[in-house]
């Protein structure tokens, strides 16, 4: 008995010794890779702070020597040659993205709830169409999409950037996994108590979907905030253009002074996506991982 115990302890401590060495090497490796992955982000920040002469070093330097905020001042106050101020594009991006995110959250959760919890006929057919939609690349159907948006008279309005972006197959797929986890008796009990369908949806279903709603918010925010292709096709009016297009115009102007403003614009474009992710990362990471199991 005691021999066995001793053997077990020795084995155990032996494996701990090996583990901690393995752990150490693993930690170093992870740290190296993590630094490598964080580099682009650091580069965006340092570039935005570089004075003009440092921006044109060749070969470019990674770190900034004399940081300055002049680029931001140029971007907001002294950007000539653009038809609309940068702040207008910033507003467009915020307005369009926030509207899309809110509508995506509401309509996707509603659809997932209806699809999973109401035993609707053809639910499987609808679901397989959604799976097909996930595999068909959005880029390939851009022209038919243009014809439809044009036919609906939405070209050159905010609607073209909002309405077509609401129903995304992948989002429904993600939320569906979570709606399935809500116990049916829970909903039935509420129904017995005379709660209406809308009340059940807003008071029970939506609150229990919080983690996946955070995920949905992050993904649709990032996707729409960074979307370059949709406004490129649908918007000609300068006053309606969003940040990615404005950024392209700022950086394509070949005056040297623009380079500083462009690096500041890059920083401003990247910042909200990183912030929203950092604040919501716990939910995102958990629910992405969770949706994988089921």
């Amino acid at each position: 008995m005691s021999v066995e115990k001793g053997l077990k302890i020795r084995l155990h401590s032996g494996s701990i010794g090996r583990l901690s060495f393995g752990k150490f090497v693993g930690f170093l490796l992870l740290a190296a890779v993590a630094v490598f992955m964080a580099l682009p982000l650091v580069y965006v920040v340092t570039t935005a702070l570089k004075p003009l002469n440092e921006l044109f070093y060749f070969p470019p330097r990674f770190f900034v020597e004399e940081p300055t905020l002049k680029n931001f001042k140029d971007l907001f106050l002294a950007l000539d040659g653009l038809d609309v101020p940068f702040t207008r594009s910033l507003f467009n991006s915020v307005f369009v993205t926030v509207t899309v995110v809110l509508l995506v959250i509401l309509l996707t959760c509603m659809a997932a709830y209806g699809l999973v919890k109401h035993k609707v006929p053809f639910a499987n057919l609808i679901f397989s169409m959604i799976l097909m939609g996930m595999m068909f690349s959005q880029y390939v159907i851009q022209i038919p999409n243009y014809l439809i948006v044009n036919g609906l008279g939405m070209v050159n309005t905010y609607w073209a950037l909002i309405i077509p972006k609401i129903a995304v197959a992948y989002n429904l797929f993600l939320v569906r996994q979570f709606v399935q986890q809500i116990p049916d008796p829970f909903l039935e009990a509420a129904r017995m108590d005379g709660a209406g369908e809308l009340k059940i949806f807003f008071k029970i279903v939506m609150p229990s979907l919080k983690p996946v709603i955070a995920t949905l918010a992050v993904f649709s925010f990032v996707n729409n905030w960074n979307d370059f292709f949709t406004p490129l096709i649908f918007i000609q009016d300068e006053a309606l253009k969003t940040l990615p297009l404005a950024m392209q115009m700022i950086s394509s102007g070949n005056s040297i002074a623009r380079a500083g403003a462009a690096s500041a614009a890059t920083f401003i474009t990247v910042l909200p996506t990183v912030l929203i992710y950092v604040f919501m990362q716990k939910h995102v990471v958990d629910s992405m991982a969770y949706s994988g199991i089921k």
Binding site: L11, H12, L19, K23, G26, F27, L29, L30, V33, A34, F36, M37, P40, L41, Y43, P60, F62, L107, M110, A111, Y113, G114, L115, H118, V120, P121, M129, I130, G133, M134, M135, S137, V140, I141, Q142, I143, P144, N145, I148, P164, A167, E197, V218, V222, N223, W225, N226, D227, F228, F229, M247, Q248, T266, V270, T273, Y277, V278, V285, M288, A289
Partner: protein
């Protein structure tokens, strides 16, 4: 009673459809309809580009894609090859990283955030387009500057440096596309009960044996899921050469019909490939994980 229940069921289904309707209408108009539209285009020839009047030409566009166009097939094969190579690398890399993170190391949650960061940064077309390459090049440059001082550059043949550069590029692609996969594996690893490992340790199984006999078989369903996810993500990635080519045909050469046909060939290939992968791997994996 029965009739009443039938009525209740019907009412419930109606309410369900009311909830689905707004989303489904949007999905129908802006996703399904364009897909069907493009299927129609792929079998036709546009007569008048202003009104989009067309006549049916059967499989002409599909034949053109393979027989007349000289660039479609090479681009197609390159995309498929790239996706497969990257899939294998991503799979090994993310499995490895997941195993390291899963050993309760320090700053674990920090690492989880950093490895998922590319998913957030990389999804933007804007970053791909204006900054993406530049940013990735920058990180590669920093590493290269660290690795190769001038003396090293002079001492080592240029071919070798090119190879290393190529390798670094590939590593960057893999790193930037492993976020979701690492998470999936991490979830799988955390789902394996620690008592199994304890039992194995009592039986004096080494780390290596534990990995081959416990971790790998129990993880195989998760590995299949990750393979399917990586394949679909790789095939539909906007920086994919064949998708870039299909877009170029449509927007720069204005051959919408040909572009649609190519899109459909590619789409059918993806569906076929993914389902075959699933079919062929399912049985051995079921056997492995139920042993």
């Amino acid at each position: 009673m029965k009739k009443q229940q039938g009525g209740l069921q019907k009412r419930k289904a109606l309410v369900g459809y009311a909830f689905i309707a707004p989303w489904l209408i949007g999905f129908g108009i802006f996703c399904l309809f364009p897909v069907v539209y493009s299927l129609m285009f792929s079998f036709s020839e546009i007569q008048d580009p202003t009104t989009f009047s067309f006549k049916m030409v059967g499989l002409q566009n599909y034949m053109d894609a393979f027989l007349v166009d000289t660039e479609f097939l090479p681009n197609f094969l390159q995309s498929v090859g790239d996706t497969l190579i990257n899939m294998v690398l991503i799979l090994f890399f993310s499995f490895f990283i997941a195993i390291i993170i899963n050993r309760k190391i320090r700053f674990r949650s920090f690492f989880r955030v950093v490895f998922f960061l590319p998913v957030i940064l990389g999804t933007g077309f804007i970053l791909d387009q204006i900054l993406g390459e530049n940013l990735q090049e920058q990180s590669i440059n920093v590493v290269r500057d660290l690795l190769f001082s001038e003396e090293v550059v002079r001492a080592v043949p240029a071919e070798f440096l090119e190879m290393v550069q190529e390798l670094l590029n590939r590593i960057t692609v893999v790193l930037w596309n492993s976020g979701v996969q690492i998470l999936l594996f991490l979830t799988g690893l955390q789902g394996i009960s620690s008592s199994i490992y304890e039992a194995a340790r009592v039986d004096a199984a080494g780390e290596w044996e534990q990995f081959w006999l416990i971790t790998l078989p129990l993880m195989s369903p998760m590995i299949l899921l990750t393979i399917v996810y990586t394949l679909v993500a790789g095939f539909t990635n906007s920086s994919n050469v064949v998708l870039e080519y299909i877009l170029e045909i449509a927007f720069e050469k204005n051959q919408l019909e040909l572009s649609s046909a190519m899109g459909w060939i590619y789409f059918l290939f993806i569906i076929l490939f993914v389902s075959l992968t699933f079919l062929f791997m399912r049985k051995p994996i079921d056997r492995a994980s139920n042993r």
